[in-house]
Amino acid sequence: MRLEAFKNYQQVHIWTGILSGLLLYICFVAGAFTMFKAPLNQWALQADQRLPAIAYAQYDTLIQEVLAAHPEAAAKMTVNLPQSVSQHAPVSWVIEDPDTHATTTWQASFSPEGKLLVQSTQLSAIGDFLDDLHRTGGIPGGDDHDAYGILVMGLVAALYFVAIVSGLIIFLPTWFKDLFTLRKRKNSKRFWVDFHNILGITALPFHIVIAVTTVVFAYHDVLYGAMQQWVYKDAPMFTRPAPTEIDRDFSKLLPVTKLDEAIKTLEPKFEPAVLEYAGLGTPRARVMIGGKLDGEWIRGPEYAYWVSDPYTAISGYSAMLPSLAGATGKIVNGFFTLHFGGFGGAFVHWVYFGLGMSGALLFLTGNIIWIEARRKKQKNAESVAQTRSAKIMARLTIGVSLGTLIGIAFALIAVKALPQKALDISFWQQVAYYVGFLLSIASTFLQSPVRAAKQLLALLCILIVALIALTALNVDRAFNFSTDLSFCFIACILLVGLGATLFHIHKRKAFLPTDSVWS
């Protein structure tokens, strides 16, 4: 390789990396937790927010009674079958105020005596909040589909792709000497570069997939727009089911068992878990059925999906089912499932949690290298002035990396400790996150970064212990036991890791030069 090309790529890697690193860190940490989105929603569910579960045979009656009493639910209604992970209520729907766009969630079930129970509710949906954080990096603004944060993260992911390729290129000339090498005693920059290389090279395919899919998730509308204008022109890109002239009375809806039979003829192992009805009573009525198909090449993070007409069970869109996707469809579904980690059930979710955390460490170490490379070394007894950019970056790196975790811990504590029925919990969980996040960053600017790091780590450990205690106090053996156990398990792993880091920093602090960027 020519030296000038190498130096070009060093610059490319430095700039793309430093511009995207911190935002990617936030998204990777939140994304790792999003692997447990449904269980986390479940964990945060308080007893008075829950309606009784009903038997499989009662679902059709419940759907009919809800539609009769609340016809507004017909626009968009979710039915959670007994196999579903979310168990707050068998039927729920969301009403959006057309002026303020404020939404209220309603849920319904039967009492043990068979009476219809309906209540409006404030679900915390902390898992969904973490998913939003994962998709937007915490950048507020815009509505759900076109949040500004998503568009920003799309650009960041493009930088990330360039950073991956350039990182690989600058690794290549010395790869034989550097592959898997971890030199601890040479100097601190060498150690961090080795650390960064090990994580980056071993997880290279994962990072490429995440970068490409993130760009597409953010900008698919633009890409489809270009295809329509330049290639398809007037030809359609998607099939739209023709509206059929049949009686769309609610009473003509197919029973759940019939939908189950219809899908089993297409995909025998499919276990329906969630039915999302839309536009009931109109010619465009449809139902999207999500179901367990563990270990198959599925589209969603948890479920495989099939779209059908709830009155006829005629297959509308079946290419998301692994048996019917074909080679091209498998490639398309592959992009989704390789981002979501949905292809191997809970086992792969755990592996993806690990890969997400390792990715977060990759960005953190990248920032540390950037700072260490710009740190002026102290010579003799004279003190040297550090550059402003290195000082600010050192503070931001510590503030953001610990602040993200502290913010998430604040939000988790808020949903577990605050009474969800009494207040707008989805608002307060956001407040808790941003308070934790911003205060952490502020604290790194008010004192020396290494002291701030120690305090924040100690705070984080206390918060995690508090979370474990809150979970243990509210444990519900009949309902949520395994979720609570897994939650405590992850919390303990994180606690050990963070505690060890705190101990290590405490030991190392004495060796830091007094004029270092960190002290």
Partner: protein, 198 residues
């Protein structure tokens, strides 16, 4: 319960395969002497991974099992080097010479950041759209139109970003750009032939 046994065994085999592979690597930091060379350790770990794959078939489809093992390997290979016994590789005796050479243009080299990045960002997009459409149209006729359009859409991004990442290799960006204009026209022309002529 029936799932834990094959899953746990596959996990253990995967970890052993990673360790075997690591021991065979020239830069391993576990032993003062390298007990395995690269090729035998690679073969052994592949055999172990194949057994793990076969065990995972109890839990998932073959395709999912391949990718599950790939992800597990990424995770384990990233973890194993962090438990070294020695502070630096001891057994690697091959002196690795850097492959970098100082070209003639080194002294008067100009990186041309803006020209290269903006130029390739703009020119790469139509190239990616037409090339991926061409690839989409070459897929068999049996592919439904929904899948074909999604397939094309997914291919655009890698085809757009890869040239953008590689353009910094070149000394004369304008010749790269002209090559891309030609390639774009070629892809566009072929697409018209496949769409209307074929």
């Amino acid at each position: 319960m029936a799932e834990i046994l094959p899953g746990g065994l596959a996990l253990a085999l995967c970890l052993i395969a990673t360790a075997v592979f690591y021991i065979g690597c020239p830069n391993q930091q576990w032993f003062a002497k390298r007990y395995l060379t690269f090729l035998p350790s690679l073969l052994m770990s592949l055999v172990l991974l194949f057994i793990a794959w076969w065990l995972l078939l109890d839990l998932m489809s073959g395709l999912s099992a391949v990718f599950t093992l790939l992800c597990l390997e990424m995770l384990f290979l990233g973890l194993v080097p962090f438990a070294p016994k020695y502070d630096a590789p001891v057994a690697n005796t091959v002196s690795a010479k850097s492959t970098l050479v100082r070209g003639e243009s080194y002294a008067n080299h100009k990186p041309q950041w803006l020209l290269k990045s903006i130029g390739m960002f703009v020119l790469g997009f139509p190239f990616a759209v037409f090339t991926s459409s061409l690839m989409g149209w070459m897929a068999p006729d049996s592919v439904p139109i929904d899948i074909r359009s999604q397939y094309i859409m997914w291919l655009i991004t890698p085809l757009w970003l890869t040239p953008l990442s590689l353009v910094f290799f070149f000394r004369r960006p304008l010749s790269v750009f002209s090559a891309f204009v030609v390639l774009t026209c070629l892809a566009f022309g072929l697409l018209q032939i496949v769409k209307y002529g074929g």
